[in-house]
Amino acid sequence: MNKYFLGVDLGSTTSKSVIINENDEIIGRGITNTRSNYSIAAEIARDEAIYNGRFSVLKKKLEAEIKAKPQYKKYINDLESVFQYEQFKVRLDKLGDELLKTCKTFFKDKEMQDSIINHLRNIRKSFKPVIKKEYIYNNLGSKNQFFRDIVSEKYNEEVNKLDSSLFEPLMTVWDKSISPAENQLITFDFKELLEKAMEELRIKYKNLPDTVADNTSVNFDAELNLLKGNFDQVSETLRKHIEEIADLEFNIANMTGTGYGRALLPFAQECIRSEILCHAFGAHAIFPNTRTVLDIGGQDTKAIQVDKYGLVTSFQMNDRCAAGCGRYLGYIADEMSISLNELGPMALKAEEEVTICSTCTVFAGAELRELTNIGKKREDILGGLHKAIIMRAMSLISRSGGVFNEFTFTGGVARNPAVIKYLTQLVTDNYGDNIKINIHADSIFMGALGGAMFAKRNIKADLPDLKKRKELVTE
């Protein structure tokens, strides 16, 4: 039987999990936003990694066929997107139940209650097809894995279209319902959802227009055309394999928990590791020549020096203040009323970065308003803010001993293109252009990957004072 190893990185903002096989290959990735209930977040991240893992196993199994027939790969990728939509639907129903429950307890007046429930139904009716289309045609699941973000964006849009007197009650019921809905641990019936997804996919391809002419919202490409032409044949050929992976048992041989919330993970204590070690180990595994690691997460910035084994020799972390981390960007995005994903691309358009004197999150917000009022361009302000983040990180790196070749950048913030731009600039300015800078598409998963690799190596933390706790995964 195949053996798998799980790493869970419970960060302050997001919880990530990675499953690797015995060859250290990443088989599954799962991510969710961290909630007040850490074990739920960890379990959701783990389940997501297992679902993702099943699709990876399928692709791996059919590696040769996929190479020969790109339509197979397209089918499997599309199926995973639709599967994610099916998961989304289940959670959306839970949210619906919660909203209804809240309305019934919160509004004493029957008329008011009915009116709000009616509005909620209409809102759902309007946004559900929009989200469905995003999942099915534009692979929303791979872009945004956070239920709360996806649904709240659309909900807000719909509420804003309504009379302003409805804003308050609709937002109140929302605020009271979203967390309970999100915090429910849902056991998805993988097989059932997969069946539904296959049917949904069939409908999608049946209804696809033959030509690109009138439908610009669909990205036509070679693979899609190939699949459309052979849909039934592909679907039939793959069915057997798909059914097999639906029944696949994931034998998690060992696991490691890490991250900010690791102490609260319901893991056996010997399975808990420091995130410093995990990030370094993960980064070193992907880029074996790594000597310096910078990790910018939700509330921590870590500068880590590692040796040739991937072992940490020293590290520095921000103390007392978390300005310049992921949450800081989140706050700025809120202040500017744009989404977090738009920040980086907008900052890239800066022509002349404004100097931001303060890297205190709250003060930066005030500074931003002030600069906007005196007519500075948003792009230039954002450019300055991104640069300020990196300046702060550079000082932490200096404290840890400087940048050594190769330099690997990890953490959620490594997805931001403007951060990468300024980091590259400042590393080159300060340490010369002989430093190879590594950034991996999976940078946000580095801690979880390092954790999974520790689990595989079974290197025990072996801390004597710590009591054993209930194990989370016993499969």
Binding site: T313, S314, R320
Partner: protein, 431 residues
């Protein structure tokens, strides 16, 4: 996070120490009856023998501050000092001390401390000390101030010129003021006799500290070092009681050593020594027990530390010498840890890592201490490169509880200990 308060396990030496200290504070509270004169002075470069040779009593504001920190009184004292305008960044020993004085000068034992008859600034290597005493001079108008300017070991050595300069200050500035305040004539012979006791205590102290070279170490040379091994030294060095105390302590520790026992912690003996560390920088006092607990819970023993050398680096060979009392007081002042230049400190710490067979090196950086913080990152890098041991860096403060973040420190220390553990595993595998 609250730790459960258990009964602290104490050795005989600790009980003797307690008696000696409470007697000193009692004596201090009785000066209005006994007429004994009181000298406020500092731990680094202290002139204890000289003070005692005039039958005066020493008061160490730093020790009062750290005691107030341990007894959870420092927060309100610091607030008092900030109320009258001391900035957030000022050394918290200073603010705690000033706050205590503003609050009626009730010492750590609950007894009122007498005002100073002499302010003896015996060490100028810390610039803050000068400012501290300027403030004390204003708080106690009319009290004479004696300042002993201590040349820094910029070139890494103590020269004859420097010794002469110090002796001249002792003769012309310090001793005349002491004679004036105490009303007694300086007695060189008495001072010289005390130095025989000093050297004996110093031999014993070094013997005790060096037991940490053994595996397992019978002592913790940082937490226990500052808690019961070192402090007696400052106030009592040169007395028969000090020799008695260190003889008892040495017997205790030699016995632990011969039985193969680990260090004593507030929760009893440490059963398994897992990590041996060298620590640079002062400890945190407001959460001393919690802080120590993180270490002993992980099986970490500090085998050598720099803070216990602030009162003298006797393991480098210096002893007070009865044949040249004033010269040796001068050498002593200039030889304390904080008066050594940075390369000297690096060499000392590197030797500690080697001689005490340490697995790692850790710095506790103190937010409000310029004296210690300057150069710490350089020291850390040098040790990392020179000795090839994992290094760690944590931050807290002396006596301001606002700057002790239990979870931050625990998080970093956990990572550090895991680094050490992992290195052991991998290195064992590689070899």
């Amino acid at each position: 996070m609250k730790t459960e308060q258990q009964e602290v396990i104490k050795e005989k030496s600790m009980l003797i120490q307690k008696d000696m200290l409470s007697n000193l504070f009692k004596e201090l509270s009785n000066t209005h009856q006994t007429g004994k004169k009181v000298v406020y002075t500092f731990v680094p470069g202290n002139l204890t023998e000289l003070i005692l040779a005039f039958d005066m009593l020493p008061v160490y504001p730093e020790i009062n501050a750290l005691q107030s920190g341990m007894r959870k009184k420092s927060a309100s004292y610091i607030r008092e000092a900030e109320k009258i305008g001391f900035s957030e960044d000022v050394c918290t020993y200073v603010k705690c001390d000033i706050g205590m004085m503003l609050n009626g000068n009730v010492g750590p034992t609950g007894e009122k401390l007498p005002p100073p008859d002499l302010l003896l600034l015996s060490y100028t290597g810390c610039f803050t000390f000068m400012k501290w005493f300027e403030n004390l001079a204003r708080l106690y108008p009319g009290v004479p101030v004696a300042m002993l300017h201590t040349p820094y070991q910029e070139d890494g050595c103590i020269t004859q010129d420097q010794i002469d300069y110090m002796v001249k200050q002792l003769k012309e500035e310090v001793i005349p003021k002491m004679e004036m305040v105490s009303g007694k004539k300086f007695d060189m012979e008495r001072l010289s006799k005390m130095m025989i006791n000093s050297a004996e205590s110093e031999d014993l102290l070094v013997k005790i500290l060096e037991t940490a070279k053994n595996k397992p170490s019978p002592i913790d040379a940082y937490f226990a070092g500052v808690y019961y091994i070192g402090p007696m030294f400052t106030a009592f060095r040169g007395t028969d009681e000090a020799v008695g105390y260190y003889t008892e302590l040495n017997n205790e520790i030699q016995e632990r050593l011969s039985l193969g026992l680990g260090p004593i912690t507030p929760e009893g003996e440490l059963k398994e020594e897992k990590f041996r560390l060298v620590v640079e920088g002062p400890p945190n006092w407001t959460n001393f027990r919690e802080f120590w607990k993180i270490f002993y819970d992980m099986g970490a023993v500090i085998v050598a530390s720099s803070y216990t050398k602030v009162g003298g680096v006797y393991d480098l060979g210096f002893r007070h010498d009865y044949r040249e009392p004033l010269e040796s007081l001068s050498k002593y002042c200039m030889g304390c840890y904080t008066n050594m230049n940075l390369p000297q400190r690096v060499n000392l710490l590197a030797d500690y890592v080697k001689d005490y067979r340490a697995d790692g090196f850790l710095i506790n950086s103190i937010k409000s201490c310029n004296s210690f913080s300057a150069g710490q990152l350089m020291i850390m890098r040098e040790i990392e490169q020179k000795m090839e041991v994992p290094v760690g860096f944590i931050e807290s403060d002396l006596v301001d509880p606002r700057y002790f973040s239990y979870s931050n420190i625990k998080n970093r220390l956990e990572s550090f200990f895991q680094m050490l553990e992992q290195r052991k595993v991998i290195m064992a595998h590689e070899n």
